[in-house]
Structures are given as structure tokens and as C-alpha cells.
Symmetry: D2
Subunit: 360 residues, 4 copies
């Protein structure tokens, strides 16, 4: 099940330390202008090195090679094949993990499922796989841009440091990626940095929340009852490594509220169009967009690999002690922000295209 989507579909392959990652984007509409260099720039946003005080071990100079589907700067409507080489592989570094199951990693579950696994750097279970999603995300964003739809994601919480200002006071735009933690609130960004640095010094890791905002969507997008827009988004987002939760609108914060606080009264906007006064619903009602911004959150757990010695077991049940290793990420954020951004764009374009078939 390495394909996501219905009409706009991403299929991916690749282990962390194999020759390359690869992907095929199918259902990309013809006639979208694309700039390959801007895809590399988008991919650079997932590059390591953003964790204050540290740098992840691996220097991925990720460069995407587009093999098909684009001709003279425009999409052809045919599938877009691409590869991203794994340039900094040191398989020998992982030989000690060949028979070892690291706690809270997928070493054991992959072995249980397939009877065999590529032990090098997490193999298929590595978050490196998500690099392919940025390529598809970049294409989806280009198409959505031509349709007047924007998608942005940002770090809204790391550990217990969170943005306390309302969404409409934030600058939700390209400028997010100019900050160190991909957080649009400068003060929160600074406090996040500080928390990550302290966590690193303690040899620990920490979780966080990425918030995503989709604007410019017309009312009518989403396919009830099993293709509800929130269902498609949740499926997309929950497929990202380390994501443990998804909610939209008031989400989990709404469960303890009363209905009288939560309804979104209708109103007529200055253009005479129907809108809602508030947006507790997060832009979706009955699985279909209502024209307001779609707002959702993704909860990331702390990264499992600590910078401490780890006691665990091997595949014969013997105890193994793994030495501390020092250059892993402290937090999945901010590198996960463009991944959420991309998966949201992929699911959104898919839903937008599907909607074209709703009427005769």
C-alpha cells in the first residue's frame, strides 16, 4: 500500500540506505507550469541542520531527478517519475543493528510482518521516505496555486511551548519558512528554539504539533461518506512518521464544550456570498468544505532515538546495549512541517479533482 490518493496519486518506494528513493505521481493535470529548481528549494526545507545546537548526522543534499511527465516546463498529464539518490549511505555503520530491535522503532514490527528486513538506518520505516512526498507536494502546490488555493503549515507547539495568539493574527505565508522553527510567531519561535536546545543538552527528545491551514477552497470539496475531506486528510497525515494524532476545527478541544458555544452562524459577506461568522468547524461540514479556511493539527510524538545508551533485545531475545549516538534530531519539527504541508496539498488536489465529477 505505497500509493496515496484516488485521482491524484502518489506511489513511493525506497529504503533509507538503498541506492535511491523513487516515486511516481499519477493523475497530475496537464498544463501546470513547473519549475524544477523550486522543487529542490522546497525539498531543502526538510533538510537537517535546523535543530539548535546540533546537526543531524546525515547530510542529505537532496536533489530530485524528474524522469517524465514534464516537457518544456509544463506538465503533460502523463505520470511524473522521479528519483532522489541516497548519497550519504554508510551501510557498515548499521551492521550492529542487523539483529537488534530498537525500542519504539519499527525494527521488530517489520521483521514480524515480512520475516526479513533491511536493517540499515530504519530501511523503509525511516522518515527519509517522506522526502518523496515533498516532490509530489510541490507539484500539487503548483496546481493548487493555478486554481487560487493556498496551503501552509507551521509549528504551533513544541513540548509545552505553544502559540497563544489566534490564527488570524499570524502571518500564514511563505515567510514561515524563513524562521528557524517554522513558527509564524516570533516570540514562540524563540522559546521553541530554547526548549529544543535544552532538550538536546539533556540527551532527550520532545514532541510537538504542526498546524495546517488551507485557504481559497470553494465550498463543495470532499466526497461523503467515506471520502469526507477530513477523512482523506487524516489518512494522509496519519501516514507520516511519528504522527500520533489528527484533529480539525475545534478538534479534541471541542469535546468538553457545549453546542451553544460551538455552532458557526451563517452570514452574508461583503460580496453577497454565504459565509460563517465563526469557524469552529474548521471549514468542513458533513465532510464537505464550506468555503472557510480548513484548519487541522497533527500531533508528533518525541523521536524514539535518544542520545543515551539504550538497553534492548535482539531477534533471539538476548539483551543488547546500544551505545549513545549524538547527532539525531531532537524533535520531528520543524523538518516535519513541509511533510504535513505536502500531504495536505496532495489530499487537497485529489479532492478538488474528484469534485469535478459531482455534476453532470
Amino acid at each position: 500500500m505505497n500509493t496515496f490518493g484516488n485521482i491524484f496519486r502518489l506511489t513511493t518506494a525506497g529504503e533509507s540506505h538503498g541506492p535511491a528513493l523513487t516515486g511516481i505521481i499519477d493523475g497530475m493535470p496537464a498544463g501546470v507550469l513547473v519549475d524544477i529548481e523550486s522543487i529542490d528549494r522546497f525539498m531543502a526545507r526538510r533538510a537537517p541542520g535546523r535543530q539548535p545546537g546540533i546537526t543531524s548526522q546525515r547530510k542529505e543534499a537532496d536533489h530530485v531527478r524528474i524522469l517524465s511527465g514534464v516537457f518544456e516546463g509544463m506538465t503533460l498529464g502523463t505520470p511524473i517519475g522521479f528519483t532522489i539518490d541516497n548519497t550519504d549511505c554508510r551501510p557498515a555503520d548499521y551492521e550492529h543493528l542487523r539483529h537488534t530491535f530498537r525500542p519504539s522503532h519499527a525494527d521488530y514490527t517489520y521483521t514480524a510482518k515480512y520475516g526479513v528486513r533491511d536493517h540499515r538506518g530504519g530501511g523503509r520505516a525511516s522518515a527519509r521516505e517522506t522526502a518523496t512526498r515533498l516532490v509530489a507536494g510541490a507539484f500539487a502546490l503548483a496546481a493548487l496555486h493555478q486554481l487560487g488555493i493556498s496551503v501552509w503549515a507551521f509549528s504551533s507547539q513544541i513540548g509545552n511551548v505553544k502559540i497563544n495568539r489566534p490564527l488570524d493574527e499570524l502571518d500564514i505565508s511563505e515567510s514561515i519558512y524563513e524562521t528557524s522553527m517554522y513558527c509564524p510567531d516570533a516570540e514562540t519561535n524563540r522559546r521553541m528554539e530554547s526548549l529544543v536546545r535544552r532538550t538536546h543538552e539533556a540527551g532527550d527528545t520532545v514532541g510537538g504539533i504542526v498546524t495546517c491551514v488551507i485557504q481559497g477552497l470553494p465550498a463543495g470539496i470532499g466526497e461523503p461518506v467515506f471520502g469526507k475531506f477530513q477523512s482523506m486528510l487524516a489518512s494522509a497525515i496519519m501516514s507520516i512518521n511519528a504522527v500520533k494524532g489528527f484533529d480539525y476545527g475545534m478538534g479534541f478541544d471541542g469535546v468538553s464544550r457545549f453546542g451553544s458555544e460551538m455552532n458557526d452562524p451563517f452570514a452574508i459577506d461583503t460580496n453577497g456570498r454565504i459565509t460563517t461568522v465563526t469557524n469552529h468547524s474548521g471549514g468542513i461540514q458533513g465532510g464537505i468544505t464550506n468555503g472557510r479556511a480548513v484548519v487541522f493539527r497533527a500531533a508528533f510524538k518525541p523521536i524514539a532515538t535518544l542520545m543515551r545508551e539504550i538497553r534492548t533485545i535482539d531477534d533471539r531475545g538476548n539483551t543488547v546495549v546500544l551505545p549513545a549516538r549524538g547527532r539525531h534530531d531532537v524533535c520531528a519539527l520543524p523538518r516535519a512541517v513541509p511533510v504535513v504541508h505536502s500531504m495536505a496539498a496532495i489530499a487537497t488536489l485529489d479532492a478538488v479533482l474528484m469534485h469535478r465529477c459531482s455534476h453532470i
Copy 2:
């Protein structure tokens, strides 16, 4: 998009006030013993009348009529078609809603999407649609039972009343359905009842959380990277009316934790098999089950229809005042519990069957 699943697939149809709901269960394995009466009993758990002090307006004597796929008490492997008649329809009661958009309902979004809608009782957007899911859920549960896998769901929170005891102190079993609020903790059940009664008296509604526990799953279930078990579950659960969030394991509560608190060390159980000491991961690592219980939560918003007069607009933008109506549910729970239960069972059986193709 009215089909859910890959191998085990449920397709549903039906408006709230049309002649009947209907569904087709495809991919049901042959050789499962089924008892049609027990399906009706399971469906009775979603029946109205459980809200303290009130009764929902509609008396649904839901009875499922199985049309195919079962022969002499056993599944045939062929698709199971079924209908559930809508017996208590009073279309005239809804004439005043023909041109009106109720706030936080799907009236407006369905009209925006399709240009036309069945205005009677919410039409396709009504939670009545979920009755079909219980039929498929009952079949999935019968199959899972033969495989030694159990699925249970319960009310873990209503408003701000929540269970404060750890999961392993609760009686997660059939007995849940013997309580008034489908809550396995007696004291919490009583407080939930009380909150619902007070909310009803205030003419208001309230949200809640359903927790689901899947036990007996072997390690190895789930299909990375886009068919991760949590992704399939999230897609299933987010398709349920009024659900605004999904998380599993430590979920949203884990984002502010440190990795050192969250890892699940491996251990060898008394049978010499690999297990984990804790289960912060919620039974899934890298999208694949690890043999521990899978635990997830679904967040429900407060029901949108209040027992108060509502000011809203019609399809020409004119203001409309809807009179207060008195017999709606105050909370989606506990009736939503068997819906979550069913969707979890459906997604689980699908994942269990898919796993059979993992090896040569």
C-alpha cells in the same frame, strides 16, 4: 466515495428519510458462522432512548434484512447485500427546511457541492447513515472472533467528565453495553448521566470521547507506508458524523512529553515471546502492529441542533428563525460507541486480510 476498505469493503447508500438504507459488504471471507438475530441486537445498541431525561424524536425499530451472501447460517464468500427500512419517516415535518441552511449542519455544503439536496432530516448527511456500518461491523466482528481478535469501544469522556483510571483496571468487554452511557467505570458513568441530564435541561448539547481497544492482534498487521494501520483506522473513524479528531497511543497527550518518558522497552513475556513493558505506542510501530493492544480515541463535537430557537439563513440569503425542537440527542455518545466499534472492526479485518499477502 461510499465504499470503505481494500479487501473487506463496505459500500453504503441511503438518505435519512428515503425508503431504506442499503449496504453491500464485499470481501467477507467464506466460512464465518453468522447469527442474524445477534446483528439486530448489536444494532439495538445504536437505538435512541439512552439519553437521560429525553428520548430522540425518532423511534427506529431498526431491523436488517440480509439479501445475499449468507446461506444456511454461514457466509458464502459472495457479497452480502442488506437493507434497513426507514420506518418512521415524516417528510412533511421537514418541509420548512427545504430552503433553509441550519448552522453547523451539512445543508449548505451539500447544496454547494451537488446543486440539489434531499432536505428531509439531513438526507445523506444524517447520522442515520451509520446504521449500515453496524451491519458490516457485526460481520467483521464475527470473522475477527473466529480469529481470536476482539474489538471494544466505550465512552471515556463526556464534556469534562472523564475516566481517571488506567485502561487495565477497566472491564473492557461485552459488559460495557450493559451500562447506560457505555462507560466501563461505574462512577464515571453516573457522572456522565448527570451531565447529560443537566445539559438537556439547559437546552444545550455536549461533546465527548470514545476510546477503542483492539486485542489479540498478532504482530505484523498494517501496510506501510500509506496503509499504516493508524492511517486506515483514522480514515475509518474520521468518516463518522461529528468526529473531529483521532489519536492513538499517547496521541495528543504525548506532544508535550520527552522521549525518555515515552519509549516502550522490549521484554520477553512468560511464554518466551517478545513484548513491550509499556504501551505508549498504542500497539503500532512504523504502521504495523507489535502484538500489544491497539488503543485509539475519537473526539466528538457537541451535536449542532440545540433545543433552542435558531436564527439562520435560507438559500437566498434571507434570515430565517427555526423554532426550538425538543427531542434531539444531547450528546453523540453513547450511541456513537457501537459506530466506532464497528468501523474499528471493519478496518481491522481489512488489515488482517491484507497481511495474508505479505509473504510468498
Copy 3:
């Protein structure tokens, strides 16, 4: 795998002698005007009684009950659930087949696959299942009609009696269904009737060919490389009971031809639009329609049940002699014509809708 299609999807269920057949049509565009009575009239074209000199045993007064998706004479965009009752079931008539495998039927293969089967009248393998396809076909035809696209099918060969006139000399229209054998050439129709009568008298059965013509399709329909229009059509048609072959354009007749006889030169028609002088390609090039009529053929084998005593075996390998039974159809045609007609319409509407996603 009881679902056909990508965007416009038919899911069916039902055994020949269970309570009812059922189906769900998903992805039906909103805004199509439908007349339920005309669906029953379309279904009457598959009714038995058209075989000269004989009448099939079963009197199916097929009446479709639409349960959802249509409101006040118009499609809603929501799924269309329907049932067709099995009114003339005599399960006791089939008790002698409970353990017997009839030659060239699916009795043995269903048992081999599922370990269990409904032995009554062929169960799920009966051609009665195709009745559901006519319902979906009628809806698809209504949608295609609004788009200016027509689909027709007819008997072009029974045994070795075939139409010898070119396609453009035939009246390919509603009038086909006014003939006894659904053959648009009066002389051939008469000879087909005569052959069927003689075959019946000999206690034998005979095969035939249904030809289908799709007109009014714009250039551009079909989704390379695995959703080529011919691939979608072949998948649809080969799923029909007793069909053993599919070809389009020159098809099997073209294999012994030279390229110089077969190319279709381009020309400009009287409206200044691009067309082709000939149509050896059958309206499709590279999997995509070129604006000419799409023409394909479906080959039907002789019906397996003869009006003669049959020697066969039971499920323990013992020899069994089945008595001659006298009122089975002699030929799958003409009753298969509306089934081909329907499946072609279903696949065509699916392809037409998919094409809407080809451009930004």
C-alpha cells in the same frame, strides 16, 4: 471484487435464488433527470421469452426498487441503492444439485474457491446477477444522453448466421429492441430466429456475437496506460457471464491484414474538424478516443445447459446423471444485448468523468 469502475462505480450483490439482488451505484453525477418507469422498461428487454419456440422456465417480473440517490425525479449525487426481488424462487427444485457439479458451470469452481456454495440455480454465478447491471446501465445512459453520447448494442451473429452489411447501412437506434433477436438487419434477424428454433428442436444450444457502437464521444476519452478505453471496456465486457472474447475496431480480423490496408488517414470534416476517412481503429488510438464511433464485439459461448440428459460427477467424485430439462435458453443472445449495452454505458460514463481531471 463486486465493484466495477473508478469514478462511476457499480457494486452488486445477490444469489439467483436468495431473497433479492441488490446494487449500489456510486459516483452518479447530480442533476440527471431519471424516470424510474423507463428503467423497468429497459429491464424488460432482458426478460425471458424471446427464444423462438420456447420460453425460459422462470418468469422474472423484474421490478427495480430505488432506495436512495434520486429525489423528485433528479439524481442527488449521493449513491443510488436498489433491490430487485427474486420472485419466482423454487429452492426445492435445486435440491438434487446440492452436491452435483454440472459440466461447464461454476458449481465446481465456486466450491473449490470458497469451500461452500449456494447450489440453488447457480447462486452468485447465475446470469441473473446481470439484472443489476441494467439498472446501473439505465442511469449511465441517462447521464450520457444529457452529454450527447449514445450507446447501442445488437446481435450481429448467432451460430454462423451473421450480418453481412456494413455498419453504416444499419439503423443503430432504439429500433433494435423492436426486433425479436435484437438484430438491426431484418433478413439476418429472421435467419437467426430460424437457427435458434432448429437448435432448440435439436435439444442443443448455440453461441453468438454482440456488437456495440458508442457515438458522440469527443476525442480525448480514456486514461493511458492501464486505463486505456479498450482496457476498461474489455474488463467490463469480459465480466459478463458466457463472454469468451472481446475485440474492437478490426480486432481479430485485422491480424492477417497488412498495415497498408489498415491505417486510418486523417481528414477535415465539413465543420472543419479533424476526423479520419476510415475507422479500422474502432475509434480509439493509444487508448484514447479519436472522435469516431467506438465499435467493439463480445463473443458468447453456447449456453452450457443442454436439453439433454447429462452425465457428470458429484462432490465425492461419484457419477451422477442429471435428467434433461426443457426450458432453458438456447442462446445467451438476444437477452445478453442489453447487458453488453449497459456495461458499455457504465464504462463509458466512468471514462468520460475521469477525463474531466486531465487538465488543470
Copy 4:
């Protein structure tokens, strides 16, 4: 729609004269032993140069680069990404076709569909795309081999030269690929060679038939009613360039036969197992295999590009004369044989895996 299959799925991308073809094989079972060199050898069977008296213009030294999914000689269960470089591209050679529509090619239909096309060498519509299918075919064949299932394909007819001996007198094995025309009958092979040479000398092209035989399949494979084995095979085969028809068993030859000649009586074989005396059904009844060999045919039209001057039009409707070009293939066979072979293997493995979910 560049993905084929349900469980075992091939997704492909690539234009004829872009940088590379690429593909991803998903659902490949773990634990299959694979030998990458043997894949290259299999691909060499599709290489040009087999047409007597001529050589196709392009020298494709096709070499597949496996990027993932295989580790230390064994499949991992994860997706297999691969690329095949396009090494002999001369885009400038095609500049004269940028605005021209060649008759019976897909130049016009791709332009009609997408509004844009890669005019170089047919782009996505080129038969070069089928090279990717051989890679997936080789993996499928390796898996099927471990399950005791064999698949073979061969040239059974070119023009009007056909094999006249019964199937069971032919050596259906690896040795087919040792002949010049991939024909297991030496005398027919010689006559095919001679016909191709004469056709080449006449500057013409000719069609043919590839027959495929699948042996070792247990009874029970295939998923009624829309996943009938013949339906899956037809969909696979009709997606191949230049294929105009598909039939199985007696196929089109059976339409003029009587039922009394066509039934396949059951018998008990020497191992006490149920079999059939004859195999007119082609190994499938009711969409499910019966344990006999599955036999089907694919009809190929003559190649459209003749070695003669061609009069056609450009995208403004002006007449264009294309000069004769001398080194195109004269017949799609024998190079198409391994393509049919591969697609049959892909569909068969998919059906075999799906069947594992039929029982509880």
C-alpha cells in the same frame, strides 16, 4: 491510471525519449529469491533486431536499475522501485513531428486529451513503455515459480501463417525464446520468418496473434463478479500497445459452435482429483480457475508506421507529407511475446494473492 493490479500492483511512468522509464512494483511478497541479471536477460527478449532482414532503428541496451525492495537477493515486501534509462535518444530526429499527427498513432488523441504532448518518438504512447512491464513480469514470474505456477507466451499466428497443431503437441517452455519468432512450432516459425521478410520488402507491416498458457494454477483463483480471472487478464492484455482483441478457451471460434460440442465433462484424474476431459473453457468457469491450463489469445494489429511516404495533416489541419523511414518493426511480434507473458504473470500473481483472503 498508470497503475495495474489490486494487491500486486505495477505503476509505471516514462516517455519514449525522456531521461528514463521508471516503475514501482507494490505488493511484491517478501521472501522471493531474485536474480537481477536474469531480469536483464528477460528484458533482452524484447530487444529489437529480431525482424528478419531488418533491424529497428533504436539500439536499446535496456538495463534495469533496481532501487529498492530487494536486499541481499531476496524481496523485502517493500515496494520495488526501478529505472530503465533511455540511452539512445535523438530528440532532434523528431522535430518534424512536433505539429504533425501520424495516422493510426496516438499523436492526435494525446493532443486532444491533454492539450499538450511530447512529440518525440510517440512519447508516453510509444511501445517502449512496455519495457517496464517486463521488470514487473520477471518479479511476478519469480514469485509464481516458487508457488509452482508457470506462464508462457508464444507467437501462434503472423499474418495468415498460423500453428496448426494442437496445444499439447507443442513444447511450451523456455525453449520458445530460443526461436527467431518465439514460435514453438519449427515449421511455422520458418514460415513466419519468411512472411515478415517479404512484408518488409514490400514496405508493409502485418499483424499477428500471441497465445498464452498458464499452468499449475489451483482451482479457485479469480474474484467474481467483476474480478473474474478473464476480466483481469483482458484488462491487462488490452492495455498493451497494438492489441485489438482478447479471447480465452474457444473464444471467438466458439460462437458458431453448438453447446453439445463445447461442454467439458468432468473426470477423475489418476491422482483421484477432479479434472475435465476437454478444456474448451480455457481453464476458467464462472470467472474462477478449474485447475486446467488457462489459455488465452491476444490479437495484434499491423504496426501503423509503414516504410512508405505518408500523407497526413498537422495540428492546423494542413496537409503534411512524411518521408518513408526504413527501420521500423514489420510486426509487433515476436517482441510483444514477453510483454504478453509479463502482463499475464502480473495479473495471475495478483489473482493468486487475492484468493488468500477468500476464507476465514
